[in-house]
């Protein structure tokens, strides 16, 4: 598909042309940046490193009603078919890759109707990273500041205009709908975008060579590095709730008077209740086991199942951890111990 160009001042009309779809853009709520529906005709500003709350919330909501029931009636009413068309505008390539990784799980042996329905109804318009954050390490885990995996359209900031690369026929139809704002990109624009991508890649200074980690990790089960790295962990949910590839959930029946609902809510393997058995026994009693499990799941178990590391190197868990537990520091200790 050939490249197009969108000048920045036309951004507002381009977005308006996305039709009746709900457009989600990164916006500040308090200090935190997250994807929220665009309201009115305001123009999304796109000069940000990355949102603290990943876009996964729209396709895998933190709280989602699965079915409703009433006292006395034996049947339940499933809550599906309510998903709306959504356009994610300004998604970073790592978050887009994360969706592809999470797709693998939710469409694995059993298609998850709630997730799949929302995924099919969403189109993702990415924005290539020009200024990666200090903790980004997407290049070490198979991603990149301009990777196109999971994206329908990729924008690259060229100064006063964006290079628009439709990648899928979804993206293509999107660009057709807004064709009068777009013009054919010149060869020079494509090279300029290429240069932006290479520079961005060079700016990523945090690296880790993941070679040997997926196979070696299970062998380090009783290694004392887990004790050392997890000692200061608080057991909170930040590194899992804000990780774009984390997908664990808990199901709860919530009753209100005489009717109720079964809903799915996020859960975190770092919480002790996550593995608390009804008997009170907990196979992962302390944070050492839980940290070990979190790393093993992302860098070993997921790789066995879907041969891709369930981490896109977005760096959120590093910058948001209250006690500065750094996944790259853990992985480097793992590498030493291999």
């Amino acid at each position: 598909m050939e490249h197009l160009k969108l000048s920045k001042d036309k951004l507002g009309d381009f977005v308006a042309k996305l039709g009746d779809k709900e457009v989600l853009v990164p916006q500040k709520e308090g200090e935190a940046l997250k994807f929220v529906p665009l309201t009115g005709d305001s123009v999304p500003e796109l000069d940000y490193a990355n949102t603290s709350v990943p876009p996964k919330n729209a396709v895998f909501p933190q709280t989602e009603t699965m079915l409703r029931f009433e006292w006395g009636k034996m049947e339940t009413t499933a809550v599906t078919g309510e998903a709306k068309e959504k356009v994610f505008f300004g998604v970073r390539p790592c978050d887009a890759r994360a969706k592809v990784i999470v797709d693998k799980l939710f469409t694995w042996d059993e298609k998850d109707p709630y997730y799949v329905e929302k995924r099919e109804k969403s189109t993702v318009v990415g924005l290539a990273c020009a200024e990666p954050c200090s903790n980004c390490f997407c290049t070490s885990v198979g991603g990149g500041p301009a990777s196109t995996e999971g994206l329908d359209v990729l924008l690259t900031d060229l100064g006063e205009s964006y290079l628009v690369q439709p990648l899928t026929d979804e993206g293509q139809s999107l660009c057709q709908a807004a064709s009068d704002d777009l013009e054919k990109a010149a060869e020079g624009d494509v090279q300029a975008a290429e240069k932006v991508h290479q520079e961005a890649e060079k700016k990523i200074s945090r690296q880790i060579d993941t070679g040997g980690i997926p196979e070696g990790l299970p062998g380090l089960w009783e290694n004392e590095l887990w004790e050392k790295v997890s000692q200061s962990c608080l057991g909170c949910g930040i590194c899992t709730y804000l990780c774009p590839t984390c997908h664990c959930f808990d199901m709860q029946d919530e009753v209100e008077g005489f009717d109720g609902r079964r809903c799915r809510t996020w859960d975190s393997c770092m919480f002790s209740e996550y593995t608390m058995h009804a008997s009170g026994h907990n196979p992962r009693p302390t944070r050492r086991e839980r940290t070990r499990n979190r790393i093993n799941h992302k860098y070993s178990y997921f790789v066995d199942k879907f041969d891709v590391i369930a981490c896109v190197g977005c760096g959120r868990c590093i910058s948001l951890c209250p006690v500065n537990i750094d996944i790259l520091d853990i992985l480097s200790k793992v590498k030493e111990a291999l």
Partner: protein, 328 residues
């Protein structure tokens, strides 16, 4: 004045004592302005210990956070002391834990570090951006100076960089300690609860509008609860399902109930270390809630928690002449 050599020598002596299990202090973080809690077991590891305006963690939380692994058959539980480095506010947290028997006085060896206020990382990262190479910082007569990557030194006035509750801090010197590393600092702060009064004066609708917006963004990651040195229930009632006080789903109703329960359980206990607000990933002004109750308890009952280990806990005592201004 901060004396790092003394800090390290004292740490070395402490760790090599046979009645001390390990020492908890701060060490340089893995990037930018970060500092991470550091558990020192062997004397050689003391060299990475430090004390600087970046040491914002309240380490007292680890006294009660360590989960107790089942003791293997035939072995004895390790009841040696835990050595802890504490700033002024951290020591008040330890005092409150002593009042509530969360930890025994004989189970903790307290190393006091008088503190001139710690940096609010968000303020500083707004100024210098999120840097990668670790940054050194230190207090320089009333200012905070940063050794930025590339050798450049930048020193800024306290008001611009320190955390809000450090600017109004009235207890910079440790309230309890086994050893004081350097001489006490002068108390600069004074607290007239400006932020609380300003919100109190608003109408109910405005107040609710303010909190509704904040509580809607809460993702219930529980970092505010887990970082708090005084939230150390084995099985928090807000996690429990039988009975269910608060549903797991995140909406304004459950989040408000969660935040109010957390705030109420800290009434007359919170010592204003500011950690909950620091760690909140979605920036809810949690100190603004805690300080409201702190002000009520201070003004209505002339009580400040975490100062005297002998007092009875505030919520487990009463005076027959307590104020009652709203009772029919």
């Amino acid at each position: 004045m901060v004396d790092l050599d003394k800090l390290r020598t004292v740490a070395k002596e402490t760790v090599s004592r046979d009645d001390v299990k390990y020492l908890i202090g701060w060490s340089q973080g893995t990037f930018g302005f970060r500092v991470s809690p550091h558990f020192v077991k062997e004397p050689e590891e003391v060299d990475s210990l430090t004390f600087s305006p970046l040491c914002c963690n309240n380490l007292a939380t680890y006294l009660t956070l360590t989960e107790k692994n089942p003791v293997p058959r035939g072995e004895e539980a390790d009841t040696r002391k835990v050595a802890l480095m504490v700033k002024g506010c951290d020591s008040r947290a330890v005092v409150q834990q002593l009042v509530e028997h969360g930890v025994g006085r004989d189970q903790v060896y307290i190393i006091g570090c008088p503190c001139e206020g710690v940096v609010d990382v968000k303020k500083v990262e707004k100024k210098f951006g999120e840097l990668l190479e670790p940054v050194q910082a230190s207090w320089e007569n009333g200012k905070v100076s940063f050794q930025l990557p590339g050798g450049q030194v930048e020193s800024l006035p306290r008001e611009e960089v320190l955390a809000q509750n450090c600017l109004t801090c009235r207890y910079p010197n440790p309230v309890v300690s086994d050893i004081l590393l350097w001489d006490e600092v002068e108390v600069k702060g004074n607290d007239d609860y400006e932020d609380v009064k300003e919100l109190e004066s608003k109408s109910s609708q405005d107040k609710w509008a303010y909190w509704q917006d904040k509580f809607t963004s809460c993702i219930r990651c529980y970092s505010c609860r887990n970082v708090c040195p005084l939230c150390y229930c084995e099985d928090c009632i807000l996690d429990r399902l039988n009975p269910t006080w608060v549903f797991r789903s995140t909406n304004v109703a459950e989040n408000t109930a969660f935040q109010m329960a957390r705030a109420f359980h800290l009434a007359g206990r919170c010592i204003e270390c500011g950690e909950c607000e620091r760690v909140c990933p979605v920036d809810i002004p949690l100190m603004k809630i805690n300080r409201k109750l702190y002000k009520e308890v201070h003004e209505k009952y002339e009580f400040e928690p975490g100062l005297d280990p002998e007092t009875k806990p505030f919520q487990a005592s009463y005076r027959p002449d307590d104020k009652e201004d709203f009772i029919l």
